[in-house]
Structure formats: structure tokens, C-alpha cells
């Protein structure tokens, strides 16, 4: 396989549940690197804690830093300041990046620090047992909101835009070719770049919300096609509203 040169074969199979979206994101990141012919030895991948933090570490045959919960962007800031020639990429989950480490996210965006943050967004705390998070859609059932989430969810693209980010996209692991395109754009962007990647978790989210997710991991991935709307212009990523639809597209200043 063309991606073998970027992988540590001895750590496979992956630790993810069958049909977890994170594995699809894993290969999309490597395909973007391959298509851009980037030298993976000049890249550093930083992750926090959670299922998504396992995407780069230990799978990528590169320098990876598996840090404490919520802090990957803080570590990434240190790496970038110490050695600006490195391409620094944070890959971690929505709980890690937007809840526990939310402050690091907005300030990295405000500083326009030249790093790429890829948020594997499964809208729940997967690894710790399916608790509600700030990205859980309203009314969705989780281990801690069995009657449905009473709170509205965070729009992470809107959040980083408000903080000043200059390259923003939302994609899903169903729309893989677009996802690879956005990752490539983020990797070549000068300044802070952020991608919100909708990556389904059937184990914790899907099986509790079968009416929106479908009956299996495969259905949950395929259902993304119905759940998403492509925005026509970049501003629509923040202004366009359609009930219960996920907006996908890009915004570059």
C-alpha cells in the first residue's frame, strides 16, 4: 500500500472499534502528506488524550507527541516557537481540543500561529464512556444525558473564526476526497489552520442515537451524506442555517 512508508506496521491493527471514523481520518492525513510530497521527518504530530489522540501516535512513522488531556496545542506552540522550520500538526478529539483545551485553541487562532489543528469530532467523549460534550448536538442521548442533551452545541469553525483564524474548513470522513483537499490546503497555509472533521463514533454515540445514526457503523458513515450540506460560499459556513444539517465547506481569508 502506498501509505506503508508512513506507518509503523508493528502497531497495527489499530486500537479503534470496528468502523470508527478516526481510521478514515488517519489515512486521509497520510494521503494529503503523500500528495503534497511533504517530508514526514520534518513534521511533528501532537495529540492529547482520547480515542482521536491515537490517530498519529503510535501509527505514524514520524515524531509524535502524545501529551496530557487538552494540552496538545500548548505543546505544539512550544515546538513551533523552538523550531519554526518544523511543520507542526495537532490531531486530537473534540473534547480534548474544544472543551478541556478550548483556551489553547482560541489563543493559537488569535496569534495566527503557523500550526494545523485537525479536530476529529465525534461529538461525544468516546474513550471515557460516552459522556456529553460541548459538541454533542442538542437532544442527542449520551451516557450522562439519557433523556437527550438539553444544551446547544459549539460550532468550532465559528469559534476559531471569531478568534481570528485565517484558514478554516469542515469536512467529514464520508467526503474523503474533500477532506484530503482541505488537509492539503491547511498544510500549505501560512498561518493558523483548523479543520473540524466529523468522524462518527458508533460505539458511544451511534448506538444511543440510532434514529439519526442508523443501525451500524457503516450506516452511520453513509448517513453523513444525508446529514450534510455543502456551503456555496465561504461566508455561508457561518451564516447559512438549515435545521439539523451539518454545514461542510471551507473558509479562507
Amino acid at each position: 500500500m502506498i501509505l506503508n512508508k508512513y506507518l509503523r506496521p508493528e502497531v497495527f491493527p489499530t486500537p479503534f472499534c470496528p468502523g470508527c471514523g478516526h481510521g478514515i481520518l488517519l489515512q486521509a492525513v497520510l494521503r494529503a502528506i503523500d500528495e503534497l510530497s511533504l517530508d514526514i521527518n520534518k513534521m511533528v504530530f501532537v495529540s492529547g488524550i482520547g480515542c482521536a489522540a491515537w490517530i498519529p501516535s503510535p501509527h505514524f512513522a514520524a515524531d509524535t507527541l502524545h501529551t496530557t488531556h487538552g494540552r496538545p496545542i500548548a505543546f505544539a506552540t512550544g515546538i513551533k516557537l523552538f523550531n519554526p522550520s518544523l511543520k507542526v500538526v495537532v490531531i486530537s478529539g473534540d473534547g480534548d481540543i474544544s472543551a478541556i483545551g478550548g483556551n489553547h485553541l482560541i489563543h493559537a487562532a488569535r496569534r495566527n500561529l503557523e500550526i494545523t489543528v485537525i479536530c476529529a469530532n465525534n461529538s461525544i467523549y468516546g474513550m471515557t464512556g460516552g459522556q456529553v460534550g460541548p459538541t454533542t448536538p442538542m437532544r442527542a442521548k449520551t451516557a450522562t444525558t439519557p433523556q437527550g442533551n438539553p444544551e446547544p452545541s459549539f460550532d468550532l469553525c465559528g469559534l476559531v473564526r471569531g478568534a481570528g483564524a485565517s484558514c478554516i474548513a469542515r469536512a467529514t470522513v464520508h467526503h474523503t476526497r474533500e477532506l484530503i483537499k482541505y488537509i492539503k490546503k491547511a498544510f500549505t497555509h501560512q498561518g493558523f489552520s483548523f479543520i473540524d472533521v466529523i468522524s462518527p463514533c458508533f460505539t458511544q454515540f451511534g448506538r444511543r442515537n440510532k434514529e439519526i445514526s442508523g443501525a451500524s457503523p457503516a450506516e452511520m458513515i453513509l448517513n453523513l451524506k444525508k446529514l450534510c450540506v455543502h456551503v456555496k460560499s465561504s461566508d455561508e459556513l457561518f451564516t447559512f442555517k438549515q435545521n439539523d444539517k451539518i454545514l461542510i465547506g471551507e473558509f479562507v481569508k
Partner: protein, 80 residues
């Protein structure tokens, strides 16, 4: 057989999630009744002659367990 594309499934990596089977537009793949040593029922190629090399199965496999090989054109890629 298909003279253009060949599909390889890595039995040790496959976790039987069936994403490849569901996403294939040509019904080339199906789930088998055989489990691998980890107990997962594997994906298998049932109608190789129908494959059009669209790469959808490979791009959507979360376990990097399926690979589409172009027998005629080495430039097959993820780019549309």
C-alpha cells in the same frame, strides 16, 4: 477476473465493519462467514469483474485493510 483492477483485503487488519461493502457502488464486496483469529467476520471480494477502480472502499476503510491495485495504470490515485 478483472483485467484492470485487483482488490486485496488484509485479513489481519480487517475488523469486519462492512463500510467497504456498503460504500462500493458496484456490489463487488460482501461480508464472509469466516472470522479472522481476532473473531471479526471479514470482508471478501465476490464479484471482482464488476470493479471500476473508484477507490471508495480503500479510502473509507478505517483499518487500512483493503487496497485497490491498478493492473494497467500505475497512476491510480485519490485525485478525481
Amino acid at each position: 477476473m478483472n483485467k484492470w483492477f485487483s482488490i486485496i483485503i488484509n485479513d489481519n487488519f480487517c475488523k469486519g465493519c462492512a463500510i467497504c461493502v456498503e460504500i462500493c457502488p458496484k456490489d463487488v464486496l460482501a461480508m464472509s462467514k469466516d472470522a479472522n483469529p481476532s473473531g471479526y467476520l471479514l470482508a471478501q471480494v465476490i464479484e471482482p469483474q464488476k470493479c471500476i477502480g473508484c477507490m471508495e472502499c480503500e479510502l473509507h476503510c478505517p483499518d487500512l485493510a483493503i487496497e485497490v491495485i491498478s493492473l494497467k495504470d500505475a497512476t491510480i490515485s485519490t485525485r478525481k
